[in-house]
Amino acid sequence: MIIYSATAKISSKQLANLIAHSKSQRPTNDLGRLTRMIRNANLLYSAWDDDRLVGVVRGFSDEATCCYLSELVVRDDYPQLEISRKLINKIHRELGSGISLVSAVIPDSLATDEKMGFEQIDSGFQLPREY
């Protein structure tokens, strides 16, 4: 059974291992950077199969108006959509309806699923990182 948590501690090695077994292209050789990404995200929800990390959503919130979800990773050999959906629903429920949720990493089938409540933003722009 998959357990979802908003408070579980995640190590950089656990995150690196999850990324290596997912569709994410992120390099995982810099564990210090992964540690800072974990530490500096004030919103970090995780999915666990026993003590194996199988999903993560990472985001930044101002705790009053807006939250940005920057990363969603699910292990390849686990149900992608179900775990993604549950993580996002849990985040939205706990943030409450007074905080908007913005993201560029929501899988298409969830982004267009009416039950999820997402709307497309036509004027999104980005300056991509170099590494």
């Binding site: 950077r33 800072r36 990404m37 500096n40 995200a41 004030n42 990472r58 930044f60 919130s61 101002d62 705790e63 009053a64 108006t65 807006c66 939250c67 940005y68 920057s70 990363e71 939205h92 309806s97 007074g98 905080i99 908007s100 949720l101 913005v102 993201s103 560029a104 990493v105 929501i106 298409d108 982004a111 999820m116 409540g117 997402f118 709307e119 497309q120 933003i121 004027s123 999104g124 722009f125 980005q126 300056l127 991509p128 990182r129 170099e130 590494y131």
Partner: protein
């Protein structure tokens, strides 16, 4: 002289004066000051612009300083618009974060050319769930 500061403390009154004078995010004008204070306290990164102690512009960002940054708001007093100050605010944020951080934003239709000229690329997958109150 206009000065730009990173993560300088802003009061709720200064913020509201800026919002109202610029006619920006009208929904937030009615928020109680505690909520706006919470927003300011937890915002990870701001670049603010000052002239003679007056707040004249602000870029407010949600970020981990390591990988991703969402530019949630950029607002400048009308009297100071079209003078290249928005570009300076954005460049300050970019320089502070460095090239390892992706910056994402929602562009006002009239600002799309501005962002394109600064190297920003269209992002087709951006979605949101709006806040209700």
């Amino acid at each position: 002289m206009v000065e730009i500061k990173v993560n300088k403390r802003i009061t709720v009154n200064q913020l509201l004066t800026l919002y109202k004078s610029a006619g920006f995010v009208e929904e937030k004008w009615s928020y109680d000051s505690k909520r706006l204070q919470t927003m300011l306290d937890h915002t990870q990164l701001t670049a603010t612009m000052w002239e003679n102690g007056q707040l004249i512009g602000m870029a407010r960002c949600l970020t981990d300083y390591e990988d991703s940054c969402y530019l949630s708001e950029i607002v400048i007093l009308p009297a100071y618009q079209r003078k290249g100050l928005g570009k300076q605010l954005l460049k300050t944020i970019q320089a502070y974060l460095g090239s390892r951080v992706t910056i994402v934003l929602r562009a006002d239709p009239e600002a799309i050319g501005f962002y394109k000229a600064l190297g920003y690329q269209k992002l087709s997958k951006l979605v949101r769930i709006r806040r209700e109150a």
